[in-house]
Symmetry: C2
Subunit: 283 residues, 2 copies
């Protein structure tokens, strides 16, 4: 692996580039980005070795798509068209079904590895990139059987060298699960932020009274709308299902409050405390 | 200030005791707790100097109520009955209106300072206590005019020595605001945890796929039901109002998704990104 093209030089692409360079100092990182300011910043920060454009990927050993999922959907077929026969392209997106669907019959389908590292922060852009973003994070590889075995093996070795824990999943299953454990969290956080901002016209009150509890609950509401709106769009059916269940649970909680059934509320909370054990790890 | 009685020797009471001892090594910290195991643990951990019972507070210079708000509501009148004429009692609860109401006509009302330090973690019990819990946190004092001026001044000096930022508020106003910036966060977090646990029977999936985003959003769902159910009960009307608005915002978001209006969703999120600026502090 010599010539690596990172498309999208923000948090995810930039971190991947740094990490790859650290484990393999011989690679040349070529950066491609619609946003020329970001691209220059990525170069200045040493995330990439040089700027490039799409047409250069005819020389690529590896192409990494680290852009919003709607852009990946559009660009991936073109990348597969240009890719040399030994090259491989991976994406980093939070949705998988539509992207896999888009190239299902592409003659170079076997050169694509559908990939979702569960890593990220509420920050974005090249400045947010850091080398250890992926360490000890789960990386979900979807529909592995559709990728060329040798190419997939080489990428898996890279992910393992980065310290990622790899899991394999069907793309459709991935989108169902991830709606619950990631996409819904973002909506609940954004809507919590909205509810409080709408009500508390006096921002001083929010700042002073928020405490660390509110801050962590609303942290994801700092996330990039350019990244998240397309995720919700691509995973629409699953996300709407999770939202329905979430709203139903909130309505149920409200009904219990209205009927002064605080014993049932206490029990609901006790049952949910179980999340402690789950997040600590499963033995 | 010599004899201090901490009623409830968990996270809040224990941390307050440690902090008080650090700024004033001469105080004797007497611990009172229904839970004898906690009390012994608090003594072993050095949070308190000795065990005590309620009847001893006839000797108190300061009594700190650091127990669930329903217990405070019950106990506060009795504490005011027993308190010597120069003593003062403060509470630490997350609701203020009902508690203030309960002692509004008590002959010793002026010896009570209604108090809410916006500090805490999702952990509880004596082991969770630490000396710097209150440092740089907001402390809201309610209905200051109803407390003896000299007694209030002495307490305010203590809070300031602990590094707390003090704000003054009417008890009813406090409960309205805090419903938005604290109580609602807890419900949104608990119900998010419930939605995911109910759906993901395979806990391995939650653990592997959750990522740091879900973890921070669901952090408050680890909180103590014994503490939070009574808070929701005492602040019922305000909490139901916030829940209504939150559910309405979630339904609106869902409607936008159902009608494929992702442009509006992007805008909603952009507007809510403003929470970044608010939480960074207001210049």
């Amino acid at each position: 692996m010599k010539n690596v093209y990172i498309i999208g030089t923000g948090l995810i692409g930039g971190s991947f580039a740094l990490n790859l360079k650290a484990i393999n100092p011989d690679v040349i990182i070529h950066g491609i980005d619609n946003n020329n300011e970001h691209l220059s910043e990525a170069l200045a920060l040493g995330l990439i070795d040089q700027k490039a454009t799409l047409k250069h990927i005819v020389n690529a050993d590896l192409v990494v798509l680290a852009i919003p999922v709607n852009a990946t959907l559009e660009l991936l077929p073109a990348v597969l068209d240009l890719l040399p026969s030994q090259g491989i392209v991976i994406d980093m997106g939070s949705t998988k079904a539509a992207i896999c669907q888009a190239v299902d019959t592409h003659p170079n389908r076997s050169r694509f590895l559908a990939n979702h590292p569960i890593a990220g922060t509420e920050f974005s852009g090249p400045k947010a990139a850091h080398q250890s973003l992926f360490f000890n994070k789960t990386n979900i590889i979807c529909d592995l059987e559709k990728t060329n075995e040798k190419a997939a093996k080489a990428m898996i070795e890279v992910f393992e060298a980065m310290g990622m824990n790899i899991r394999y999943m069907d793309a459709t299953e991935h989108d169902k699960h991830i709606a619950y454990v990631s996409h819904l969290s973002h909506i609940s956080s954004f809507m919590l932020g909205k509810t409080v901002i709408d009500k508390e016209k006096n921002e001083r009150n929010i700042f002073d009274m928020a405490g660390s509890g509110f801050e962590s609950t609303v942290r994801l509401a700092k996330s990039s709308p350019e990244m998240w709106a397309p995720i919700f769009e691509q995973n629409k059916a699953n996300v709407i299902e999770t939202l329905n269940e979430y709203i139903q649970n909130l309505n149920h909680f409200k009904t219990l409050m209205e009927s002064d059934n605080f014993e049932a509320i206490r029990n609901e909370m006790k049952n949910t405390n179980h999340i402690k054990t789950i997040l600590k790890g499963i033995s």
